[in-house]
């Protein structure tokens, strides 16, 4: 079989069974990439993951780009990326279109309302998780100081989050990079 078709199938399967965003589908991608299709060795996979984690952006699409290129050039990149993002994007668009049609109905209004507390709690979990990780790696004082300053900048001074993140990069590169 052509490699790009295998890429299409492999990345489709890994992502269609990965719930909870890109990071949760990493083990599934590992299964397709290393033991199943042998596109990378185990060590290459860990190296790639380390590079991927030091670059910004969604992780699943970075892995797709790297493996696709490595296995079949730019055609491979296209196949792997399309299999990663298109199915779930189309599903979301179709579902939202159906909901939009019944936007005025009491049922859809109730659905919109009841998901708000669930989203709030999921965000709370993510907040706790990333705070914990951060405190473990840079300590209470650094975490508290960066969090307080960025809260002040974004909420009180209404600075664009992008600028705050760039500021944090500079600070981290100079003071935490030892």
């Amino acid at each position: 079989m052509e490699t790009w078709i295998e890429l299409l199938i492999g990345f489709f399967l890994a992502n269609v069974f990965g719930y909870g965003g890109g990071p949760s589908s990493i083990p599934l991608m590992y299964r397709e990439i290393v033991p199943h299709y042998h596109w990378l060795s185990g060590a290459e996979f860990s190296n790639m993951l380390a590079l991927g984690n030091s670059l910004p952006g969604p992780i699943a699409t970075k892995i797709a780009a790297y493996v696709g290129y490595d296995a079949a050039g730019w055609m491979g990149v296209l196949a792997a990326e399309a299999a990663t993002v298109v199915p779930s994007a189309v599903a979301l668009i179709v579902l939202m279109r159906i909901l939009q049609k019944y936007k005025q109905s009491q049922a859809v209004k109730g659905m919109t309302l009841l998901v708000q507390p669930v989203i709030a709690v999921m965000m709370l979990q993510l907040t706790i998780q990333s705070s914990k990780e951060s405190i473990l790696s840079i300590g209470w004082i650094q975490f508290g100081a960066i969090a307080l300053i960025s809260y002040w900048l974004m909420q009180r001074r209404k600075v664009h989050p992008a600028l705050v993140i760039v500021g944090a990069f500079v600070y981290g590169g100079i003071f935490l990079g030892r």
């Binding site: 990663t84 979301l92 998901v115 989203i119 650094q142 100079i174």
Partner: protein, 199 residues
């Protein structure tokens, strides 16, 4: 017309190259662009899109990028949103292969990433607060708190899959106003009966 494409590309480019920690930590950035900065949709709608997106498999940030693009400019918009979001880092990934050792062992790059995590935590916390606020406004203090506690227990201790919890919330939500209407009616009837007894 072209302005919308330009804004969409810029917004998705920014969220793509500044989101650290994978898709989920990019969500507050996407929300900032879509709700606060460009006002493409209201916060409630964003919350609903996010919830529905979470019930579907696959990367979360790219689903949102595609949907935003689609909502603004149809299929072409979805394509533009997606490409602007994933292309820069996908190309960087391929281009930087030869520098892989430099990147994964550099202390400076580690420091940079570590400094961004607290900023992301603040943004996530802020989002949590704002969606909580919306729940309180729509459901009332006690009902919102009850929903929140139930959701937290189910996710954190029962380890229920978020997609299942959202599906339950959507299912109940679709009959929520009916249930509330019925409750009000029975309460009214009871009261009337009580008044009737007194007469």
């Amino acid at each position: 017309m072209l302005k919308t494409y330009a804004e969409l590309s810029l917004a998705m480019f920014r969220t793509g190259i500044l989101g650290y920690g994978g898709g989920p930590s990019t969500v507050p950035l996407i929300r900032h662009e879509a709700v606060s900065r460009y006002r493409w949709m209201a916060d409630e709608e964003f919350g609903e899109v996010l919830a529905i997106a979470n019930t579907l498999p696959g990367p979360i940030a790219t689903k949102l990028a595609a949907y935003l693009g689609y909502r603004l400019k149809g299929t072409l918009g979805a394509l533009v949103g997606l490409l602007a979001h994933i292309l820069p880092t996908a190309v960087a990934m391929i281009a930087l292969v030869s520098f892989i050792d430099v990147f994964s062992s550099s202390r400076i790059i580690h420091g940079m990433i570590e400094a961004v995590v607290p900023v992301v935590a603040v943004m996530l916390g802020q989002m949590c607060y704002e969606f909580g606020e919306k729940a309180v406004k729509g459901l009332g203090k006690y009902m919102a708190l009850a929903c929140g506690v139930i959701a937290f227990v189910l996710l954190e201790w029962v380890q229920l899959h978020p997609a299942i919890l959202i599906a339950i919330a959507l299912a109940y939500g679709s009959v929520h106003f009916k249930v509330m209407g019925k409750l009000k009616e029975t309460r009214k009837r009871k009261e009337e009966r009580r008044h009737g007894d007194m007469d």
